[in-house]
Symmetry: C2
Subunit: 523 residues, 2 copies
Amino acid sequence: MFESAEIGHSISKRTYAREVPKLREALLDAQYDLFQDGRFPVMILFAGVDGAGKGETVNLLNEWMDPRHIRVAAFGDPSDEERERPPMWRYWREFPAKGRIGIFAGHWYTDPILDRVRRKTKQPQLIQSLEEIVRFETMLADEGVLLLKFWLHLSKEKQKKRLKALEKDPKTRWRVTKTDWRHFRLYDRFRKVSELALRQTGSASAPWMVVEGEDFRYRNLTVGGTLLAAMRERLDQKPAKPAADRIPPIPPPADNRHILGALDLTLKLDRKRYTDLLALYQGRLNLLSRNRRFRGRSAILAFEGNDAAGKGGAIRRVAAALDARYYRIIPVAAPTEEERAQPYLWRFWRHVPRLGRFALFDRSWYGRVLVERVEKLIPPPDWRRAYREIVEFERMLVDDGIRVVKIFLHISPEEQLRRFEERMKTPYKRWKLTPDDLRNRARWDEYAVATDAMFAKTSSRHAPWNLVASDYKWWARIRGLETIVKGLSDGVDLKLPPCDPKLAKAIGKMVKKAKKGGRALKP
Amino acid sequence: MFESAEIGHSISKRTYAREVPKLREALLDAQYDLFQDGRFPVMILFAGVDGAGKGETVNLLNEWMDPRHIRVAAFGDPSDEERERPPMWRYWREFPAKGRIGIFAGHWYTDPILDRVRRKTKQPQLIQSLEEIVRFETMLADEGVLLLKFWLHLSKEKQKKRLKALEKDPKTRWRVTKTDWRHFRLYDRFRKVSELALRQTGSASAPWMVVEGEDFRYRNLTVGGTLLAAMRERLDQKPAKPAADRIPPIPPPADNRHILGALDLTLKLDRKRYTDLLALYQGRLNLLSRNRRFRGRSAILAFEGNDAAGKGGAIRRVAAALDARYYRIIPVAAPTEEERAQPYLWRFWRHVPRLGRFALFDRSWYGRVLVERVEKLIPPPDWRRAYREIVEFERMLVDDGIRVVKIFLHISPEEQLRRFEERMKTPYKRWKLTPDDLRNRARWDEYAVATDAMFAKTSSRHAPWNLVASDYKWWARIRGLETIVKGLSDGVDLKLPPCDPKLAKAIGKMVKKAKKGGRALKP
C-alpha cells in the first residue's frame, strides 16, 4: 500500500517555482466556481504519519485558496457537550455547507486506528468501525459531497530523520511532542493497522490518495493537483441530472393488503379506563424520567402517522408527563436554508439531545421515504438508499445508549375524513387543515406501499417500529404511552408503585388485544 | 414591591373551572396566530421564590398551549463550551426564533441575584449587572422580542409551609432539595436583593409581573391571562410600520472634512522593507498565538473598509501566521434564514470562538451602521440604537478576556477606481466586482458621514478603532499586522526574538509616520 510513497519522490526547485503560480490560480478559480455555484461541499481529510506534513498542508491550502470559504475542523479532547452524544456527532456539526470547503485535521479514522494501535480494541472491533466508516462515506458521496482523503506517508527512517531535524531547529522544536516519539516507537504497528484501514475504506466513491511526505514540493504539488482535478471534474459536470433509476418499480401487492391493514382499528377504551390508564402511564413515565439510571441516558421518540392520526395529541400526553425543562419537541417541517445546504440527516443529528434529555420528533427522518418518495420530491435512488442510512443512523444512536422509540399512528380513510370535517367546522382547528392534507389523502394507496416498504426495511432489532391503531384517540394515546414506558424502562431498575389489581387486569387485557390487533414489528 | 403578592389571592374552584377552558382556547389561538405570522418571538422568564410554582407553571404553559412551538431553556452548570465564552452566550444560543415561544426556566437574573445573596459580590457589582441587564432587555424589546418576566412570590411563612407540605407527601418529596432549605434560611436577604433587582430592571419595555404563588388557581389564571393579553395586543397591532424618526437628520460637516480624511494615504513601503516586516510580524503573531497565556484567551479580529480596500488580502496575511486549526474566517454576507429569525447580533454571537481560538471577521456587525444605514435597509431608529448595542456587545467580549481588535482599511476614491478597473481586466478577479460595489461607490459621501458617526460612537476604551491608510497595500498589511500584534500582546509576557537593529529602526519610523498619518482612535 505505502510502497509507492517510499521511493523518494521529489520535485526540483525550478519546476516547483514554475508550477505553483499556475496551480494556485487554478485552485482559486475552482474555489470561486464552487462558491458561486453552491452545488456541493468539498471535504478534505488529512491522515498519515506524524511529521509527514499534515499541519503544513492544511495551512498551505488555506494560503493557496481563499481561506474565507474554507472551514478547518480540528478535534482535541471532546467537550462535555460532545461526550454526551454519539461519537460521530462532533463531525456532523463541523460539516461544510454546499459551496464551501471543509478540511478535517482530525476525523473519524483517528480513534479507530489509534485505539487498535494501542491495543485498546481488537481486530473485529476495528473491522466493524471501518465498515461503519465505509457506509458513512458512501452516504456522503451519495449526498453529493466531494470527499478527498489524503494519507501523507513517511518511511520509518524518514520519520526519525524528520523528527530529529525539527527538534534540532529552535524555531520548530515546539512542534515535536512526547506523543510524537511515542507514536514513532509504534511505527510498525501503526503502519500495519493503517494499511488495513486504508484497504478496507478505499471505496470507489472515496479512494485514499497516498502521498509521500518527505519532499514538501512534491507533497504540495501532489495534494494541490489532486484537489484541483477532483474539483474541476465535478464542477464541469452538467448539473446533477437525476441518476437513471435502474431498479424496476415494485408494484403494490396484487391483493392490495398492507401491513397496516392488519391493525385492528376497532380497538378502544372507555373514558374511565382511559383516565385511569393515562394517570398510571404518565406517572410511570415521570418516575422513569427522574430515575437515576436515566440521567446517564437520553431518549429520542419519533412519531409518524397519517394526517390527523393524532400525533400532536399523543405527543402532548407524553410531554405532560415530563419536566418541560428536559424535553424538546421538534416539529419537522420544510428544512431551513442552512439545513438544505447539508446532507439530509444533518437536520436530525443537530437535535440529538444531551444526557438526561428527551427529543420528541413530530414527524421525523422518515419523511424521506414517505412524503418525499410519494410526492416525487427526490429521485428514486435517494429514497432507496435512505432506508439503509436511517437504520445506520438509529444504530449509532442506540449504540451510544440513547433510547429510540418509533411510533406509527394509523387511522382508516373514513376516520380521517371525519376528522378533516371536524377541523373544518371548528374555527380554532381550521388552521390544522391544509391543502397538503387533501393532496396526501388522494395518494392513500401510494402511501400504503411506501409505509409497507418503510416498515419492512427499517424495523431493525435496535429500533423496531410500533404500530398503533388510532381510529380511537384514547386507545392510541394509551398504547403510545405504554410503548414508550416499555421502551425506556428496559434496563432501568424501576421500583414501580403498586398498581390497582383491577387496572392491572385491564392492562393485561389491553396488551393481549393489542398484540393481536396492534403490533410491534420485529425485523 | 412584594406586598401585593402577600395578601392571599385566591380563585374559587368553580371560577377556575369556568375560566380555564376559555383561557386555553384563546392562548392556543394566539399561539397559532403568532406562528403563522412569524413576526416576533415571545420570551417568558420565570423567577421568584422556591416553592412558588415556577416549574409547575412552565409545565402548565406547555400543557395549555402547543408544546411543539415552545422551547424551554433550562440552565444547569455551564458546559465547558459555555464556560469558554462570555456568560450571556448560553442565553443567546437558546433564543426562540420569530413565531416561537421561548420559556427561560433559568436566565440572566439567576447569577447576579444569588451571587449577591451569597455575598460573592458587592452591591456595586450587582447594580452594574442589573444595568447591563436593562440594556440587554431594551435591545430585545427594540428587536421586537415580546419579553414577559414573571416573579412568583411567596411570603416567608408560606414558603416554609409549602416546603414542609411537599416534603410530607412521598410523591413530591424528591422535589425539595437541601438547596431549597438553604435558600429558605436566606429568605430575608433573598427578598431584599430581589426587591432591588426588580426595581432596577422593571423598565417600561420589560416590566416585572409579580404573582402570588400560593394559590395555584390564582397563579395559573394570572400568568395565563397576562401572557394572553400581551400576545394578543402585539398580534393585533398593525404589522410594524417603521417607527417615526424623531431625531433630526445630521447634515454632513459643512467643510466636508471627515475623520478618514485625516489619514495620510501616501504612506508606503518598498518591497524589501515589506518582506522583512511581514516576516517579522507574522513571526511575532505566530509566537503570540502559541503562547501559553494566550491559550486561556481568544481573539476576535474585525476587518472593515471600503470595497477593494484590501480586507481579503490583509486577512490572508494574518491567517498565514496562524495555525489553520485554530482560526476561523467569517465572511459576513446576507444573513441566513435562521439568522433573520433572530435579533441582529445573534449571527455574531454564534461565532464567538472558544478559548485559544481566533475569529476573523471579514466585515462585521458594523454593517448595521454602514451599508444597512446608507442603503436604507433598516429604519433610522434601528441603526441609531445599534451604536450602543455594539459597544455593549464588545464590552461583554472584552470583559470575558477576549481580545477584540477592529481595523478599518481606507482608500481614496481614485485608488478604488483603479482597483475596480484592474479587477475588470483580470479574468480570475472579475468575480470580485459586483454591481453592489458600483452602487456603494456612488454613495461615497454618505458612507463618509456614516463612518464618521461609527468611529465617534463605537471607538470605546475597551475596543478602539484602528484606521489604516490603504492606498498602498503593503503599508496597509504591515500596519494591520502590527496593530493586531500590539492588541494581542497586551498582558501576554512574550519573549520576542531579537530584532535586527536596522529593522527596529525602520519600525520606529513607520510607527511614527503612522501616528501622524494613520491613527488608533481613542474614545
